[in-house]
Each structure stands twice: as structure tokens, then as C-alpha cells.
């Protein structure tokens, strides 16, 4: 909301600086986002009188003027090329070292050999037009028509010596989306009287009801509709004061009638509309839902096809306005308009919002209605508009009006007490202060003892309970009175993470212990990511965002792989030598699409790594660290994934349940991405792991007898999996507690298609010590079993 200081001063005697007022407004809940000094750009530009004009000796088109600028000098010589200057004229003079609109700097200089100590200014050079000061649009020097002292700062004359407060108004205060609304707050915070609006006008001997018939068929969408007839209209230019006000608000003056509606919108926040009655068929105005397929062309010449969701103002034949959004091209005011029906209405904000969004048609009016207009202001705005009609002598006003709907706005009363308000705040605001603050805000208060009966101003539709009253009190009393206590009356509660939440920390700590860095990536990915990973068929099952920022952030991910790959690729492209990354985040799995129930949000761990010395087994190490943290044993089986290297991919099993995968990025994808390093990616179903993980630590007594170790070099077929050998060893001897592969050798001595696998075995004794002879016996048994089951021989 932009409020000019000069306009606010119409209603409140503001005797502090604009900066001080900014602070005051901030303290009561109105943050001034920007305090704009209107004449910011203009400096050292003053009023001067042209005392004498001489011809330039060397240039036909140039004139040498002698200017009297009062205190700034009585004989300032300035050369100008303008035609419209004359002796005795008062003009704006940009002195030496001055600045003008657009950052233009003026310095003393010579024009064709004659010294010129500044410049005479046009309106454009001051950044103004006729709306600011009559004559500013003239092609030439701005000739001032006011008798003003020489040397006066030009900003004071043309309306640039003003401030605009750009105020952020919260959504609960639509009443402050107007100059007068802000003025009410200013008066309250400064504890000054608020000047009443001029609302009185003289009415003619004719009536609205004779000229036009107004009905409201959709009162649910239009709670109040006020219509007033004005005739013998004189469409003219508006007076300077009004045009300047509009200009300050950034609006161009059109003509007196249109300007009045805009002025009332700014001043009171009530959108107004005027229908040219000569163009209204059958002298009938009806507020109704549009018929399906009905069409309207709005003032900006856009055509819309409507539905019964849209509210229109219609004449006897057709819609003449899209209610609250924009008038129809067929009923707007023209230079020839002689009689109008003024409309001031409260349209239901939700409906205007829907219509505006659905049709993609916006206006100052619709923006205002969306925020909410109160029924009270709907009435007084009409009075204000008619008062201006009279003040500007631009028409004759009918003696009656249509006022359909909430004509009688019953004021809301909130019953509360000093104790209740203070109980919510936690401090003791004295009763006298409470009453005083509420009165300053136009609430009327009846106090009986501690009890308060508070009548809410009609324009404050946001207030409906004692907490709202408490808020009004504290924002004016000052939040700095709130001291800070520590839950004096609250019950003691336990707190902290539950087991499930703590478990997550365990998984993350395990990965950090393996030098993995935690990443956080967006939950949405691109359909292209799925294509990249050759899993586009999964897309059909993914949840899509209706209104994504872009296609690349439109799919709720069903796998963390694309995000992990993206992070790895970014690190590689930035020249980072290596990275170990992990993420613990949700994937989103819909039961069915379109979504009919909350989808499963499955917590998943992803890991990714690349760099010198990294291989499949370092990725596997990350998984083993997680398994260890949960006291689980993962089994790995060679497997396939569309985006992974077919020979370097494993699925991870907990018992017979697959809980994840890991592998090297498929070389063809790596090539597409121009990666010159191998990249490893894996995912684990965190929820399953956490559910099966062991919690708590149970100490096992240390073995009473020393463990015995034996190394075996075993010759097996090339295709033999380490895990097969390992489990065969474990199965054939119950004392084996650890089997570790420590070397693989291939060579002539071993034979073609074979490999030698060196294992280190640990035997842990139970009830008695294991003697060397015992151990030899176990080894014999193991070798026999390996020979029989897997055709493995001792090397």
C-alpha cells in the first residue's frame, strides 16, 4: 500500500518527520518497506525570474537569459534554446552542480562561447507532467503560473517535496489498503484526532429508481450493492489537486468521473464503477451469475467465455461488467457520456479471486476485492464519490439510491475482560491503557469493573474474539513491555527424540564414520532424469506436481538415484577430486494415481562416491557400515539395474528380502554425461533396515581360550563367488567365527579358468581350548566339504 505523506496530512496533523512516522508505524504492525522521497532525483533546482533576454551572438536558435534566483543570485546567466521563454517569466532553474530527473547532472559551461551557469528546465526534466503541474507537458520550458518567492526549491512548487510510504499491510487488515485506513492507524499511534471525510452532498429532485431498475440475484456473491444515478454529467479534466494525488499514487488522470472512482479506490479502498446509462439496455442492472458460455469483452478489449462460477453485472440483454474485475467495453464512460449509474459493491472475495485466477484477468479492482472489502465502506464510499461529483461540479445527483443487502451493518460486540486480555499476554496492562488504546482505534468500550464490552468499528471485519482485542492492545501498548517468562503455569513434560528418530542418527553417524558427507537434494526431479537412468517406465507411477516451477522440478522422486547422481556430477564438473556423499530422505510412492490417499513417504538412504581408490567395494563398505550399526548381516547378489554396469551391480538382501542395490554407473550413461571417472551409487530401504535392526547393545563374554587362525589358499573355478566359499566354510565347522578373503591369484601354476583365493580363518573355542591338532582336523573337514560341494582344492 503506497500512502503519500501529504495525503495522510489531510486527515491527521502529523508533526513528526517521515522517518519518525516510519518507526511508529513499524511498532504497531505496519512495516514501511520503502520510504520514498518523491523528489529524490532533483537537487539545486529553484524558481527564477527571467529578467532579460538577449540573442546569442553566434547562434540564431540560442538565447542568453539573465535570471534572478533570489538568494542564489540575482544575475545568473543561462543560455537556452527554448522558444517559449519571455522576460518576466518564472521558470525552474537548475543551478550549477544540480541534478535532475533520470540522474542528469548540470554543470556550469560554455555554449558557443557564452558562459551558461545552469539550465532552464522543462517539466520532463523534472520528471513531471500536467497532472503534477499544469504546463509541465508543454514542449519547452515549464512556465510557472504561481506567484512564488524567487529562489524557492522547485520541488515545493510542483509537488515533488513529498514522501511516499510503501507499507506492507498484512492479509488480516484489508481496511488498511487505503489512504484513509492508514490515516486511522497514524491517528491512533500518534494519539491525534482523525479528520472526518467530507460525505455530504446536495441531491436533485429526481430519483434513481425512476431511471433504472437494479436487482441482485446472487446475494451470496454480492452481500451489498449500492447504485446511485447521476445525470447532466460534464466530462472534463479533473482539478490539479486531484490529478496530483492520482499522480503520486502512480495513476494517470483520465477525466473527472473516472478520476473520482480511482480517487475513492485509493482513499477508501472501495472499487467503484460507473455505467454509461445510455448504453445500458432496458434500463436494467442485474447482479447475477453468468450463464454457461455467456461472453463478455472487457474494457481492455479481451473476450472471455463465462460460466456460472463467474458473477456479472448485466443489463436487460447482456453482461456489461465482469463483477469486481473489469467493466465491459460496451458500457464504459466516453467523452459523450451524459448520465451514469455509480456502483459501489461488496463482492465476495473468494469468488472474485477464483474468477480472476481462472480467467487470468486482473485489475486494481479485483486485487482489492480479493483482499476483502467491508460492507460499511461500501456505503460511505458512494457518499464520498457523490460529494466529489458535487465538489467538482460535474453532475446532478439523484435523490435516492439502491442499497441492496447489508444496508444496515450491525456492529460486532466482543465481551471480554481486563483479566482475560492480560492472561493471554502474560503482563498487566492497566485497564485505563486498554480502554484508551481501544478508543484511539475507534473501538467503543463500556467498562463495568473488570468486564469490558467492546464494540468493533464497522470496517474491522477481522476482529471477532478477545485475542484480536488483546492483539490491538499489545501492538499499541508496545511489544517491548513483554518481558519473557518461562512457562510459569505449564506442566512439566519429557522431551527429546523417540527411538525411531534416534535410530536415524545411528545410520547417519555410521556413514560419516566412513567419510561420507551428508547432502540434501530437492524432493522433486525431472522426467528427463528418469530417461537418463533408463527408468522412464517408472515415471507412470510417480506423483506429479500440477504447478511446478519448471518441468525439471515436476516429479516427486520415487528413487534418490537421480539426485545423488546429479550431486556427484556437479562435484566432478567442478573439478573436485573425489566425493563420498549420502542422503537420508523420503521417496514418494503413490498407492494409485491420481492421488486419492496420502502416499507412502519411504525413508531411503542413498550413497554415492567417486575418486582415486574408490571402487565397488568402497561403496559396499558404506553399506557394511550401516549393517554393522544396526547389527545386521547383508547378503549381496549379482544383479542388474538399467542404469548400472551389468557386471558391477549387486542387490542387497536381508534374509530373502531385497533392501537395496549398489553398483557402478553404466559406462554408456557415464559417457553421455562425459564423466571420465567411475561413479558408484547405491540405495538402501532405510525403513526396512531400521525395522529389522537390533537395538541396544548386549555384551558377549570374551572367549576363555585363545582363538586359532589358519590361512588357506584354495583353487576354485573362475566364476566362484567369494560368498559361496565363505558360507561353505562356515557351514562345515561351527568353530569358524570369521572368514576373510585376503588375496586372489591367477596364473599358470593355477591353471586356465581358475583362481586361487586365500582365506584367513578364525576358530573361536567354546567349552575348551582348540589344540593345533584340533585345528588341523577342522581344516581337513572344511577342505573335504569344499571339495565335495564346490570342487575346490587346496592349492
Amino acid at each position: 500500500m503506497k500512502a503519500p505523506l501529504s495525503w495522510l496530512k489531510d486527515y491527521v496533523d502529523i508533526d513528526i518527520t517521515a522517518q519518525e512516522l516510519t518507526e511508529k508505524l513499524f511498532s504497531c504492525g505496519f512495516e514501511v518497506e520503502e520510504l520514498i522521497y518523491v523528489g529524490e532525483e532533483i537537487d539545486r533546482c529553484v524558481v527564477g525570474r527571467i529578467e532579460k533576454i538577449e540573442k546569442h551572438p553566434d547562434a540564431d536558435k540560442l538565447k542568453i537569459c539573465k535570471l534572478n534566483c533570489g538568494a542564489f543570485g540575482s544575475e545568473i546567466q543561462i543560455v537556452t534554446g527554448a522558444d517559449n521563454v519571455f522576460e518576466g517569466a518564472l521558470v525552474p532553474v537548475a543551478l550549477d552542480d544540480s541534478s535532475l530527473h533520470g540522474g542528469v547532472k548540470i554543470k556550469k559551461g560554455k555554449l558557443r562561447g557564452i558562459e551558461s551557469c545552469g539550465m532552464l528546465c522543462s517539466g520532463e526534466e523534472l520528471g513531471i507532467n500536467d497532472d503534477w503541474y499544469e504546463g509541465a507537458d508543454v514542449n519547452g520550458i515549464l512556465i510557472l503560473h504561481d506567484e512564488v518567492p524567487l529562489g524557492t526549491d522547485i520541488k515545493k512548487i510542483v509537488g515533488l517535496d513529498d514522501y511516499i510510504f510503501d507499507i506492507s499491510v498484512t492479509a488480516n487488515r484489508p481496511d488498511c489498503q487505503s489512504i484513509y485506513g492508514i490515516a486511522r492507524e497514524v491517528a491512533a499511534v500518534l494519539d491525534k484526532p482523525l479528520a472526518p471525510l467530507d460525505l455530504a452532498y446536495g441531491a436533485g429532485e429526481f430519483t434513481t429508481s425512476e431511471r433504472v431498475n437494479v436487482t441482485v440475484e446472487a446475494p451470496d456473491l454480492c452481500p451489498r450493492y449500492v447504485a446511485h444515478y447521476v445525470r447532466e454529467l460534464k466530462i472534463e479534466k479533473s482539478p490539479q489537486w486531484m490529478r496530483r494525488r492520482l499522480a503520486l499514487a502512480g495513476l494517470r488522470s483520465i477525466n473527472n468521473v473516472v478520476d473520482i472512482t480511482n480517487f475513492v479506490l485509493l482513499e477508501l479502498g472501495q472499487p467503484m464503477h460507473a455505467f454509461d446509462l445510455a448504453r445500458v439496455a432496458e434500463s436494467s442492472i442485474c447482479v447475477r451469475r453468468a450463464e454457461e458460455g455467456e461472453k463478455i469483452t472487457t474494457l481492455d478489449e479481451k473476450e472471455f467465455t463465462l460460466s456460472s462460477e463467474n458473477l456479472v453485472i448485466a443489463d436487460g440483454e447482456k453482461p456489461v461488467a465482469l463483477a469486481g474485475v473489469m467493466g465491459g467495453l460496451n458500457s464504459g464512460i466516453t467523452e459523450e457520456t451524459k448520465e451514469v449509474l455509480f456502483e459501489s459493491a461488496k463482492f465476495e472475495r473468494a469468488n472474485i479471486r477464483r474468477t480472476s485466477r481462472k480467467l487470468g484477468q486482473k485489475s486494481d479492482s479485483s486485487a482489492r476485492f480479493e483482499k476483502g472489502v467491508d460492507a460499511y465502506t461500501t456505503g460511505i464510499a458512494m457518499n464520498r464519490a457523490l460529494e466529489l461529483i458535487e465538489e467538482l461540479h460535474c453532475g446532478k445527483i439523484a435523490g435516492d439510491r439502491y442499497d441492496i443487502g447489508e444496508a444496515k451493518v450491525t456492529p460486532k460486540v466482543v465481551k471480554t475482560s481486563v483479566g482475560q486480555i492480560n492472561a493471554l499476554l502474560g503482563i498487566e496492562v492497566p485497564k485505563a491503557d486498554i480502554c484508551d488504546i481501544l478508543k484511539r482505534l475507534n473501538f467503543s468500550v463500556t467498562a463495568r469493573g473488570d468486564a469490558l464490552s467492546v464494540t468493533v468499528p464497522a470496517y474491522r471485519e477481522d476482529v471477532d474474539g478477545y485475542p484480536d482485542i488483546a492483539e490491538e492492545v499489545i501492538r499499541m501498548y508496545g511489544y517491548d513491555h513483554i518481558e519473557g517468562t518461562f512457562l510459569k503455569s505449564a506442566s512439566v513434560t519429557n522431551g527429546g527424540l523417540n527411538d525411531e528418530q534416534r535410530t536415524e542418527e545411528r545410520a547417519k553417524a555410521a556413514l560419516r564414520g566412513q567419510a561420507f558427507c551428508e547432502i540434501i537434494t530437492y524432493s522433486f526431479v525431472s522426467p528427463k532424469d528418469y530417461e537418463q537412468l533408463r527408468i522412464e517406465d517408472e515415471l507412470a507411477k510417480a506423483i506429479r506436481i500440477q504447478n511446478p516451477i519448471g518441468e525439471d522440478m515436476s516429479v516427486m522422486r520415487t528413487t534418490l538415484a537421480p539426485s545423488m547422481l546429479g550431486s556427484l556430477v556437479r562435484n566432478i564438473r567442478r573439478g573436485n577430486e573425489g566425493a563420498r556423499l549420502y542422503e537420508l530422505a523420503n521417496i514418494y510412492l503413490a498407492e494409485s494415481l491420481p492421488l486419492a490417499s496420502l502416499p507412502e513417504e519411504r525413508k531411503t538412504v542413498s550413497v554415492g562416491l567417486y575418486g582415486a581408490g574408490e571402487d565397488f567395494y568402497s561403496a559396499k563398505g558404506a553399506f557394511e557400515a550401516v549393517a554393522a550399526a544396526f547389527g545386521l548381516h547383508f547378503a549381496y547378489r549379482s544383479a542388474q539395474r538399467p542404469f548400472l554396469h551389468p557386471g558391477k551391480t549387486a542387490e542387497v538382501f536381508l534374509g530373502e528380502e531385497c533392501v537395496g542395490y549398489l553398483g557402478e554407473l553404466a559406462p554408456d550413461i557415464a559417457e553421455e554425461l562425459s564423466l571420465e571417472t567411475e561413479v558408484y551409487i547405491g540405495e538402501l530401504d532405510y525403513a526396512k533396515i531400521a525395522a529389522r535392526g537390533k537395538t541396544g547393545i548386549k555384551y558377549r563374554p570374551l572367549p576363555k581360550f585363545p582363538e586359532v587362525r589358519r590361512d588357506l589358499a584354495l583353487v576354485a573355478e573362475e566364476g566362484m563367488a567369494c560368498a559361496q566359499v565363505e558360507s561353505a566354510i562356515r557351514e562345515s565347522c561351527k568353530y569358524v567365527t570369521d572368514v576373510r578373503l585376503f588375496d586372489i591369484y591367477r596364473g599358470e601354476q593355477i591353471g586356465e579358468g581358475k583362481k586361487s583365493m586365500a582365506f584367513s580363518l578364525t576358530f573361536t573355542p567354546r567349552e575348551k581350548a582348540i589344540s593345533p591338532e584340533d585345528a588341523d582336523g577342522y581344516v581337513k573337514r572344511i577342505l573335504k566339504s569344499l571339495h565335495e560341494k564346490l570342487a575346490i582344492e587346496l592349492r
Binding site: 492479509a171 492483539e471 511489544y479 517468562t485 551428508e518 530437492y522 524432493s523 522440478m553 516427486m556 513417504e601
Partner: protein
């Protein structure tokens, strides 16, 4: 015989008086020792020669030989000690290393700064009795808006640009949705934190379409605005520094009444005004307020019996202030050079 004994003694004493034997290694010294004390050494030879000594002289000579042997053993022991010491010094001198060469150590990973802040906040509030509840990220309109006193087509919906999945389902735009889910299932006293990912259609240096919030909710008898201030003071002191101050100023959220914006005194300049706080001395960090009566009613909690407050903290915002991170997008680029700076 006596002459022999004396001459051997003299040899040994001469060595002892000088710099000791010239042996440069234990081996050489051993060989020298054997020359005297070995089975065939000079002193052993004396012992063997005893049989040629007259019986009268034998005791005296015998004791002389015994003394000589003792003396020799003493000296060799001493020389061995000295040599060992010398050898050790030499070894130590040889072994001097360059302590400035790089260390070998198992590097650990790091915690994302958002997680760091999240952990720290949970630590702070858990100590004050808060539980932690994580609600769904894909939410129903009801929980994200309607139950929070934001009906359909309410202008407050414009405060957040929301991503929709269908008309009814959306990506939660605030963790406040967690308030409702908690209050539906638990009656006061309630003290709960609801951290998590939230989504808004917004993207620039200070806004990310996905970011993290942590909602705090307290509902009990006699909870006041003063209590909210007290709790946030504690949060500010522990999150930033013991002299961090909070400032409340009026604001609006549909689900709280009164609503406040909470500013913290700028930790960079201590409130004097600097680039980070744009010269104001204050940094806006969170929104809060007393839980709106309608919200309590929506969850079947009697607003005449119970009051409460709620606050919503942006985790990225806190991390940016606390660690001096200028651009929110860095948080989601996951460059290891960034990540490795946050070793929890």
C-alpha cells in the same frame, strides 16, 4: 703368574683410564670381552694356570685372579652399557623425522548445515520438554490450510505460493500442518517440535522451492505471550550467544492471534548495524504467536481452558545467519568443498 695378572690388569685399567676399548659395535666389544673372559680368554687361561702355582701361593694368587675377573666383568659391563647408550643415541639421531609432513588419519564425513541446525534446535527444545513429530510432506489441503484457519480462496493463501498435486493434495508449504496432526491425537499438555521439508514456488538467492522449517507448539493451561517471549529468548541465547536479544513486533498469521515477527539482535555487529542486518541491528528470523482459538477448536481442544503458542523457524535462514552463508542455493548444490566445512 703375578706378573701376568698385573699385566692383564694394567691393560684393562689403561683402557678404563682412557676412552675405553675402541670397539665400535657390540659385536667388537663382545669379541674383546671374549679375549679376556671367554673360555679360552686370557683370564680363563690364568685360572687354568693355577695348577702350576705353588700350594702356598695359591690362595693369594687365586684371589688375585678372582679379583681380576671381577674387575674385568665390571669394566666390560660398564663398557657395554656405555656402548649401548652410544648406539641408542646414534639410532635416535638417525631416526629424526620431519614432523611437518602430512598426517595419516581416517577422514570422517560431515553433517549438512541444515541438519546441524536441526540437531541443535532439537537439543535446545528437547531440554525444555519438547517431543519431535514428523508429519507427511505431501499433505491434505485440510492440514496445511483449512484447519489452520485458512479457508479456500482466503487471501492468506497468497502469503505462500503452494505446489499442488491435485485439488486436495499438495506439498506442505509450512510445517504448521504438523500442529493439527499432533493436536488431533494428543491432548494438552503439548510441547512438540515438527521439523521437516516444506515447499513453495519461489526461487532466488534467499528463497528455495524446497527448504526446511521447524514448528514449535506449546498448549497447556495459562500459556501466555510472555511465555513465548521467554522461550524464544532462551532459544536465541543458546543458538547464537548469551547476549542475543529478541524483539517482537506485530504481524499476521491466520493460525495465531496475536501474531508476531521475531527479530534477533544481529550477531554480526551486536546490534550496532551492519551489512548483514542492513543497518538495522536486527535480523528477522521467525514468525510466532498465540494459537488461534479456531485452530484449537478445529482439534477439539477447549480454547477457554487451554491456550498455547506456536513458532515456525526457517532452518536454512538460521544456518545462513549462524554460519554466514550468503546464498541459499549453496545448501542444495552439495559441493564437497562446502559440505566438508560442517563437521559436526
Amino acid at each position: 703368574m703375578k706378573e701376568q695378572i698385573e699385566s692383564i690388569r694394567a691393560e684393562l685399567e689403561a683402557l678404563a683410564a682412557g676412552e675405553g676399548p675402541a670397539a665400535s659395535s657390540s659385536r667388537e666389544l663382545y669379541e674383546l670381552k671374549m679375549e679376556y673372559l671367554g673360555k679360552t680368554g686370557k683370564i680363563s687361561a690364568l685360572s687354568k694356570g693355577m695348577r702350576d702355582v705353588s700350594p702356598e701361593e695359591r690362595p693369594a694368587v687365586g684371589s688375585m685372579v678372582g679379583e681380576l675377573r671381577k674387575r674385568a666383568e665390571e669394566l666390560f659391563e660398564q663398557w657395554e652399557r656405555e656402548l649401548k647408550k652410544k648406539e641408542l643415541s646414534a639410532k635416535i639421531a638417525r631416526e629424526k623425522i620431519d614432523v611437518t609432513m602430512p598426517a595419516r588419519f581416517a577422514e570422517t564425513g560431515s553433517v549438512h548445515p541444515v541438519s546441524l541446525v536441526r540437531q541443535e534446535l532439537i537439543d535446545i527444545f528437547a531440554g525444555m520438554g519438547f517431543d519431535v513429530f514428523e508429519g507427511p510432506e505431501i499433505e491434505k489441503d485440510y492440514y496445511n490450510f483449512q484447519a489452520l484457519n485458512i479457508p479456500a480462496d482466503h487471501p492468506a493463501r497468497d502469503m505462500q505460493d503452494t505446489f499442488f498435486i491435485t485439488g486436495e493434495y499438495l506439498l506442505r508449504s509450512q510445517t504448521s500442518s504438523g500442529q493439527i496432526r499432533v493436536m488431533e491425537n494428543k491432548k494438552p499438555p503439548i510441547k512438540v517440535l515438527s521439523p521437516g521439508r516444506v515447499y513453495r514456488s519461489d526461487s532466488d538467492a534467499t528463497h528455495s522451492p524446497m527448504f526446511h522449517q521447524m514448528e514449535g507448539l506449546v498448549v497447556d493451561r495459562g500459556i501466555t505471550l510472555n511465555d513465548l517471549k521467554g522461550m524464544l529468548d532462551e532459544f536465541a541465547r543458546r543458538m547464537f550467544s548469551s547476549n542475543t536479544k529478541t524483539r517482537l513486533r506485530p504481524s499476521y498469521f491466520p493460525f495465531t492471534e496475536p501474531s508476531v515477527e521475531v527479530d534477533l539482535s544481529c550477531s554480526n555487529c551486536g546490534g550496532k548495524g551492519c551489512r548483514i542486518c542492513k543497518g538495522t541491528g536486527w535480523i528477522e528470523v521467525l514468525g510466532a504467536g498465540m494459537v488461534n482459538r479456531r485452530v484449537l477448536e478445529n482439534c477439539n481442544i477447549d480454547p477457554d481452558e487451554f491456550t498455547g503458542f506456536a513458532f515456525g523457524i526457517g532452518l536454512e535462514r538460521i544456518a545462513m545467519i549462524k554460519y554466514g552463508i550468503g546464498d541459499i542455493r549453496l545448501m542444495f548444490e552439495n559441493d564437497v568443498r562446502f559440505l566438508k566445512q560442517f563437521k559436526g
